[in-house]
Each structure stands twice: as structure tokens, then as C-alpha cells.
Symmetry: C2
Subunit: 105 residues, 2 copies
DNA sequence: TTTATTTATTGATATATTTCTATATTATTA
DNA sequence: TAATAATATAGAAATATATCAATAAATAAA
């Protein structure tokens, strides 16, 4: 008795909106970035060195991934002393993670 | 009184699964492909020429987008005479579309 | 069998993305 | 101020992706 799909079909989305949607998906569409989102969900806001430690990526690469996600508003960044703490800022990051976590629907 | 996020945080996802997730997102992360998914949701299974007409893309490009989505199982394809009818095969395609359609959560 | 219709594939080119190495910036501590 | 720690950025090389033009393949109709 589970609902297969919640129908939301309505007015077609403008190509402009679709492009913004695609930009968000494009940024999330990377295993390391997904892992970063997952980590931030589990542990909450964290400084870069904790994140790169967890993900096991070089400093520059980690920083670049974090900045990409911050630029489009998926993450927020706040400097605290010599550290910069990143956190999930757009709940859609989690929603999309969830969408894929479930095997379906 | 709306739930901001449904917490699904559990065991961390394997890098392998994250890569498969990223592959699905990567394919969806394109305005034209999202539009195709939206169209197939609204109109149901359709032949290629109807889709390219609707999206306004050249035949080769449309065919290539459709094939990418079929390869990873997002769409299904069935030949009917000289036409090939495509349809949404993986409900996650719609779920992700929905995730972005809503402004948040 | 020839022709027309629909879809797929190939090769080339253009553009974008990822990663690396090295260096720069910002803040802290000696 | 000099040295250290944390993070960001720039430039280059490697890889991936998108699009186009042309052609191939599959089916149907004449």
C-alpha cells in the first residue's frame, strides 16, 4: 500500500529554471561532493581540515569542492579564527541525497 | 509545524554506491534531459520524433540524450514499428525532479 | 526492390570539469 | 616581526561532455 510516485506534474518548468536546477544537480553529481554532504549531515558544521581528513582528499581539491558547493548556495562558510567552517545551507542537498538513498520512490 | 528535514542519516554510504549515485545525478544534470523527463511524466511514453519536436532539439542530439538516460536505467525504450517509444523507468528520475521543483525540503 | 521514414551511430570539434603543483592569503603564535 | 597553521587561488595537464554533420541501420510503404 505504498504510493509509487507523488504526482507533481503541473505547468511545465521554464528552460531557465531547468538550467538552474541542472546547475545544482551538476554540482551534487560527484562522489566526493556527495560524501562531503553526507559527512556534514552526520557531523554538522565542520572546518576544512576535518572534512579533508574524513574524505581523504588533498587540501586544494577539498577546498575547491567546498567552494563550488558554497558558490551555488548548497553550503555556507563561516570563518572562525584560522579555520573556515562549512555547513549545509540548502536543504535540497539533503533531499536529493535522500532521494537516491532510498532504492526508489 | 512543517518538518524541515527527514533525517535519514545512518551508516555512511560506500564510495562505490556514491559513485553510482553520482552517475545518475550527472545524467539528470542537464536542462534538456530534465525537460525530456518532465515531458515523459506529463505525456507518458512517447516516440523520439514527438520528444524532439517538443524539446526543439536536432534528431541526433535528442537520440543521444535519450540513450544516455536509457543506458543507466532512467528510461526504457521499446520499438514499435519504425518508432522507438521511450518512457520513465526509474521513479528516482521523477523524485529528483520533484525534489528540485519544491523550493525546499 | 526501391524509396521514404524513423532512429542510432560515428568522428570531429568545442567546451567544461577534475586534479595537480605551486603559491598566495588570512589569522595565530612565538 | 618571523614562523606556523589553515584555507584559497592560479595555471597547466588530463579527462569528460556536448554538439554537429554525415552516415548507417531498421522498418514500412510503394
Amino acid at each position: 500500500m505504498t504510493r509509487k510516485t507523488i504526482s507533481r506534474a503541473g505547468k511545465p518548468l521554464s528552460i531557465d529554471l531547468l538550467e538552474r536546477m541542472a546547475d545544482i544537480l551538476k554540482i551534487l553529481a560527484h562522489a566526493h561532493r556527495l560524501k562531503i554532504v553526507e559527512f556534514l549531515e552526520a557531523r554538522g558544521a565542520s572546518p576544512v581540515h576535518k572534512i579533508m581528513e574524513e574524505i581523504g582528499l588533498p587540501q586544494a581539491v577539498t577546498s575547491q569542492h567546498l567552494n563550488q558547493m558554497r558558490r551555488i548556495g548548497l553550503l555556507s562558510a563561516e570563518r572562525r579564527g584560522q579555520e573556515v567552517w562549512y555547513a549545509i545551507a540548502d536543504p535540497r542537498a539533503l533531499t536529493i541525497l535522500d532521494c537516491i538513498r532510498r532504492k526508489e520512490s
